[in-house]
Symmetry: C2
Subunit: 261 residues, 2 copies
DNA sequence: AAAATCGGTTCATTATTTGAACCGTTGTTG
DNA sequence: CAACAACGGTTCAAATAATGAACCGATTTT
């Protein structure tokens, strides 16, 4: 892992749940030497990517990221482009829908919509990195992404989030195989208790998977009919979104989806 | 300059005017070896900070910056905090107002407001890095920022943007001295022709300058009265904004401002 | 008051970054 | 159409920059 990657991974530790991180905490999280982490943070600070809380000396994300995001979205408005589809799907199903992107070996939500029509509601943090082995979106990426990614996830310990998370690599491998056969993934309370999720892949140019479209429902509303309604809607939407982003669902997957009907 | 800084500086090259950059172009801009630039870009790409246009192989900012900006603004909503003040000031003066932040040795707009009440209008790109020697905001930062920053700018060649830009270091030094005496800076068509701008400092915690508040007007609307109206409004607003951000205008500057009345 | 923890610093050792030269492809030009 | 230039990308020895154990002073905990 290069120096640059190590520094950028530090930035990835920030989430809305943990927006400020101290030096020692960073050392723990990143499993690197304190001096190394410190110097990386200093360099990030000098470039405005992090700044320090002057009272606590903790680090938080800096204003530089705001400008970059502004340029990105202004010149390549992917978030805006997908928002329409995600909003529509959420309205149609009456459930939380999110579109997440593969970023290296992590997965990051790009856009999330939730039409509040039911009493219970799934909590979803748009600014949190999602685990690969514990979400339906992650399973889709593992199933249809690169072999490297899958091996990398299988080789590391699988963190237990909910008590029902898949932590056995062999089981995970089986689930990935099932996902390949289905053309979509589901995940029963793997990340958060009481939440069931279903996901389909989004493809960009050159037959490469770039992200996933997913629906999350409280298990109280889960039923055979509901699931098949969601799966059908996801298939159709992920085809349209892929096309909108300049890609297309590979024919193999389209064929699987058609046969399932 | 460390490896991390070199890589981050690459990201800073992206603006809405130049959202995609090829390898050779990057080599030119960054004045580094092609192999070095290439490897840095690869590492940035692997972390989602840039992505490649699959047709042209050019690089553009990646989706990772979107998530980071989302975390930053969600947990530390500075942009939102200042927007109110900037909007008000723009409405009051009927001119373009922007608040920009110092990021290392660069200056980046954080928020910009323009109430379109006049026929002519100043063009302003919120996603562009601004030059220090050619804008009133930059002059303020040079005058009230660190000595290092000033020396660093004075030591490099001063790019001529408009034909009327200050390019002589001695002249720049004089203007900085004047700015220190006034407590605010003005700049006559230094960056863009036909645009006159005035700026005051914004201070954060610990008496440190963190940015500037500036008004830009077409020279056609420039007049003695207008300028003094703007200067008064800027002084008052930058005091309020500094306080809103947890800082305060240093007493020396307050005194200068009061004496000018 | 002793011990632990915090952010930050130092310097010899080490490992990663570096850049000149090179490769294959694409598009341009005499 | 052959020669050339410009592009993105790759290689490997040489050199520089990253590294981490130990240390520092200041707080906080015990």
């Amino acid at each position: 892992m290069g120096t640059i990657t190590k520094a950028l991974k530090l930035l990835n530790e920030f989430t809305s749940a943990r927006p400020e991180i101290g030096l020692s905490e960073f050392k723990m999280i990143s499993k690197q030497d304190k001096a190394t982490v410190y110097r990386h943070l200093i360099e990030l600070r000098e470039n405005g990517f992090v700044e320090q809380n002057s009272n606590t000396k903790n680090y938080r994300l800096g204003p530089a990221v705001l400008r970059l995001a502004s340029v990105r979205e202004r010149t390549f408005p992917m978030r805006e482009a997908v928002s329409k589809w995600v909003d529509d799907l959420s309205r149609q199903l009456g459930e939380l829908v999110h579109l997440s992107l593969l970023q290296g070996d992590a997965m990051s939500p790009l856009y999330c919509a939730d039409i509040q029509v039911h009493g219970t509601r799934v909590y979803f943090d748009e600014a949190e990195l999602l685990p690969m082995h514990a979400t339906s979106s992650g399973l889709v990426l593992l199933a249809f992404g690169s072999e490297n990614l899958l091996q990398s996830v299988l080789s590391k310990p699988l963190k237990n989030y909910s008590g029902l998370t898949i932590t056995n690599p062999d089981v995970l491998q089986d689930v990935v195989t099932t996902t390949r056969r289905n053309g979509y993934a589901f995940c029963d309370q793997g990340y958060e208790k009481e939440v069931f999720s279903i996901a389909t892949p989004i493809y960009g140019k050159e037959q490469k998977i770039i992200g996933t479209l997913a629906v999350a429902v409280p298990i109280s509303r889960q039923s055979e009919d509901k699931i098949s309604e969601i799966v059908d809607a996801l298939k159709s939407s992920s085809m349209q979104v892929s096309i909108a982003l300049g890609g297309a669902i590979p024919v193999e997957i389209e064929r699987i989806w058609e046969n399932a009907r």
